[in-house]
């Protein structure tokens, strides 16, 4: 990856993060538990792909709480992912 490609990738990552941030704020504002569960899960998955276990567990926790509150189908799976890392 040359310098230009690296810069483009960094810009794309920042744009994706900004979009996720805006979507999360909107979901919090709307108290949309389904969206919060899915968006925090997406954030956790992204951190997992980067190998950031600590950040992943933070976002998994956020996703889990909203899934627990709403009875979301992914609740058990989120719990299992946290348990896998001894976080719950």
């Amino acid at each position: 990856m040359n310098e230009s490609q690296s810069s483009d990738a960094e810009a794309a990552l920042q744009a994706a993060n900004a979009l996720l941030h805006e979507q999360l704020l909107a979901a919090h504002q709307a108290k949309d538990l389904l969206a919060l569960t899915e968006l925090y899960t997406a954030a956790a998955n992204k951190e997992q792909s980067l190998g950031e276990v600590s950040a992943m567990c933070f976002f998994l926790t956020q996703a889990y709480v909203h899934a627990l509150q709403s009875g979301h189908a992914s609740c058990e799976q989120l719990h299992a992912r946290l348990a896998e890392h001894g976080r719950i």
Partner: protein, 398 residues
Amino acid sequence: MAEYPLTDLRSVLTDVKDAKGLANEHYTSQVIFDEEKRSILFDSWAGVGFGKDVPNPGDVKPIWFLGMPLLLVRDHDGEIAVFQNTCRHRGMILIQEASNISKVMRCPYHSWCYGLDGELKATPHVGGPGHNKHEAIRNEDLGLYKVPSAIWHDVIFVNISANAPAFEVHAEKLIQRWSEFQQPLCHDDKHGSITLDVKTNWKLAVENYCESYHLPWIHPGLTSYSRLQDHYHIEQPGDFSGQGTLVYQQLKDEAGLSFPDFDNLGDQWDSGAEYIAMYPNVLFGVHRDHAYAIILEPKSLDHTLEHISLYYTESGASDARYEGLRKKNASLWNEIFKEDIFVVEGMQAGRHGALFDGGKFSPAMDGPTHTFHHWVADKLSTHRSQNQANQGSELPSS
């Protein structure tokens, strides 16, 4: 240790013909109001809400009762429980408004989550970011505080101090007396909830409700067919008091239709009805075709909300044929209860008369009211004796 004004309870705790009523301070003193809050309303079984307030599984409703934040909860099995509405973490109010909960109740502050059974289910980040457990946080020890509660005639009773006999013991005599009405009482969701805002001490609403003496003067519309001599006193010292009528007439519409009767009632109820104050703060009425309950919510020393709830048989509460009758019946009771407002507000104002000595009971007509005063005085007397004993035990030995 609080110092209570030495109101004279002995003059109440005697036979009705010799007794005086409770002294003015029981209606005008904040100190006595606080004493009664603890020794009567918290130590006994007080009504705080209705089952109809949380009609569906998962419904939760936050309420305040004498400064206590409480949470009415109907779980997914339909059972009602009452919790203190305070998160065990930092004391935040857990539920801010009535809602329906699918799984857990989440504290809006740090998101500690509780099941509808009060059990602590989740403590996000409690061990640090992304760490949801800590050895010092034992979920099994940190559930919501559960307040002893019971449901009878759709009224939710609580014993906040958790020191009263079981509700079934406390209410045994009234449960037995009205055992025929132990059947579905269906709330009229459209017309059957009325709240009156009254500038009076809560006890005066009980006192007025207990007796029939005032009916010819305050409710002349009733006495056109239900004369004073058609009423009888109900006195169960230590438990409840009230009045009954022998000439209840069913409401009928223009076509002669009346509400359907409750099932399998005895002959007594063909033309009989009873109105009983279940101490401390719930007023009940039963008739062959409808019933009601009134919860007196003391807002302050001289301010009370009266929450009235009307009930019928299942078809009486829901069948469209009875819609007009339900509206009319609610309107009639609303008018009758409103007729009492100037009386209970007038007695509250009159209690500022420094020369009033608690009042002279009519032995013939005021027995049910004296029975209530006697119960209050007995509770307070016991409370004061216990306080004195505790105070004595705290004194250093010489």
